[in-house]
């Protein structure tokens, strides 16, 4: 098992704020790695550092053994890393099919238009959007847009997917469907790095989990280990002792 993606000692500050610092982890081929942490922990920043939206202040990003640190997002996409966005970014006036075609055209394979359309269609069908191909993206429901994000990323025929809160805002049935889709993506041999708030889902899905807090790695391990790690519980639920003290009215 070789590391597909290796992040080494990554750091990024905005103004005075250290958003990410000293972060290292790897994702192996065919693996699903969960990236979790409380709001504001720097998870989306990590994605932006990997795919080149931000240039890191420190550290390196290696993909398939090559250094891709600081490359522009479109070059990173060409290497085979596709992503979805937490806040959906549809190309609003374009149809579902056209959105996916963009992904296919400019993704890893750099396909010509006619072949890209076929790939796009397949990707759209894969996530269950085959009956809305001609619908402008703006008219999709939030769940539809989430799926479109995924279909667009898949159209790029990536080696690796970065999924940013793909399940947020979906209802129970939609979540179930989406989880199935994600599993079948992995079954195709595509590695996945996933940010997710829904613990139940990510615990069941991931092979490994990396926990971030305030831009640093708090813990890393198998889901079961993470679930029982007191530091993780505190970061998520808050400090129960603190809560108790407020309850009692006496400062701790």
């Amino acid at each position: 098992m070789s590391a597909l993606l290796a992040v080494e000692d990554l750091g990024k500050s905005f103004g005075g704020l250290r958003a990410v610092s000293g972060l290292s982890f790897t994702v192996n081929e065919g693996e699903i790695v969960g990236l979790i942490g409380p709001n504001g922990a720097g998870k989306s920043t990590v994605f932006n550092l990997i795919n080149g939206v931000f240039v890191p202040d420190a550290g390196r990003v290696q993909f398939r053994g090559g250094n891709i640190t600081g490359e522009t997002p479109y070059r990173v996409a060409r290497h085979g890393i596709a992503r979805t966005h937490q806040v959906v970014q549809p190309l609003a006036e374009l149809t579902v099919l056209e959105n996916c075609t963009v992904g296919a055209c400019f993704g890893r394979e750099n396909l010509p238009l006619y072949r890209a359309r076929a790939v796009a269609r397949e990707a759209a069908a894969f996530v269950g959007l085959e009956d809305r191909l001609a619908m402008p993206a703006a008219q999709l429901t939030i769940a539809g847009k989430k799926r479109l994000e995924l279909a667009r990323a898949l159209s790029a025929q990536p080696l690796m997917l970065l999924l940013d809160e793909e399940l947020a805002g979906l209802n129970a049935t939609e979540i179930e469907r989406m989880l199935e889709v994600i599993r079948s993506i992995r079954a195709r041999g595509i590695a996945i790095l996933i940010i997710e708030h829904l613990m139940q889902a990510i615990m069941g899905l991931s092979d490994r989990i990396v926990v971030l807090n305030s831009g640093q790695k708090l813990a890393e391990g198998a889901p079961a280990e993470i679930a029982n790690n007191p530091a993780v519980i505190e970061a998520y639920l808050g400090d129960p002792a603190l809560a108790a003290s407020l309850h009692g009215g006496a400062p701790a």
Binding site: L17, P38, N39, G40, A138, Q139, L140, T141, I142, K145, E165, A168, G169, L170, N171, A172, H197, L198, M199, Q200, A201, I202, M203, G204, S214, A227, I233, Y236, L237, G238, D239, P240, L242, A243, A244, L246, H247, G249, P251, A252
Partner: protein
């Protein structure tokens, strides 16, 4: 819930053609701390934005002190004492602490008794007093959240609505802010809170609503809710 200061009835809202909130009803009782909890994307922020009027509801009603204020603009609601501390603080980053506070007191309601309220705010947040002339944009997250709450207090709110109080803050600040909220409540302020730190939220609140997928999942007293395994699961998957 007869003493409800703020009542929300069958509220539906969304963006463009996408519905996010589906017929949600809840109330905030006078001088109590009420909490809305729910997963990311459950529609909490949209609900609050609709209640204070930065987006208009598709249907449903918002009553404040018994009066229907559904269609009032956000600034008109603020002028009546219905004040939101938005998610991500939303300070006037190019302006000083003093100016931010003055803007909080922009309405006639806030301008009345400005000096005494300023004193009170500085008593609550002495850190702000030390930095009155400093620009808000240079503050740390915790200081910004303090200023955001202080600014809202300058409006002389009857209902203070806070979206994600502890978001991205260090535990020390979180503790301080919750302490302050508790003190404000004890002084008679009505507070409606959206919070991801469930333990803390439930610890300080008097009543809580759990929201999922834009609908009401369950409601009740905090102690009862905290004991419910569904909530633990929904949040941690444990």
């Amino acid at each position: 819930m007869n003493d409800a200061l703020l009542e929300v009835e069958e509220l539906s809202a969304g963006y463009g053609e996408v519905q996010v909130v589906w017929g949600l009803s809840f109330a905030a009782a006078r001088s109590k701390l009420t909490t809305l909890v729910g997963a990311n994307g459950a529609g909490k922020t949209t609900t609050l934005r609709t209640v204070v009027g930065t987006i208009s509801p598709w249907s449903g009603r918002v009553r404040f002190k018994g009066e229907d204020v559904t269609r009032l603009s956000a600034h008109a609601k603020a002028a009546r004492g219905l004040v939101l501390v938005p998610e991500g603080r939303q300070l006037f980053t190019n302006m000083t602490v003093d100016e931010n506070l003055e803007m909080g007191a922009f309405t006639g309601r806030g301008a009345h008794g400005y000096a005494t309220r300023l004193e009170r705010v500085f008593t609550l947040f002495p850190r702000l007093k030390e930095r009155r002339k400093q620009k808000a944009g240079t503050f740390s997250g915790g200081e910004q959240q303090m200023l955001a709450i202080a600014r809202a207090l300058m409006t002389d709110p009857e209902v203070l609505i806070i979206d994600e109080l502890s978001l991205g803050l260090a535990p020390l600040f979180v503790y301080q802010l919750f302490g302050t909220l508790k003190a404000l409540k004890e002084d008679g302020l009505t507070v409606l809170l959206v919070e991801q730190n469930v333990h803390l939220a439930l610890a300080v609140s008097d009543y809580a609503y759990v929201i999922a997928e834009g609908r009401l999942f369950t409601e009740g007293r905090p102690a009862a809710l905290a004991a419910m395994p569904e909530i633990r699961r929904a949040y941690l998957g444990l």
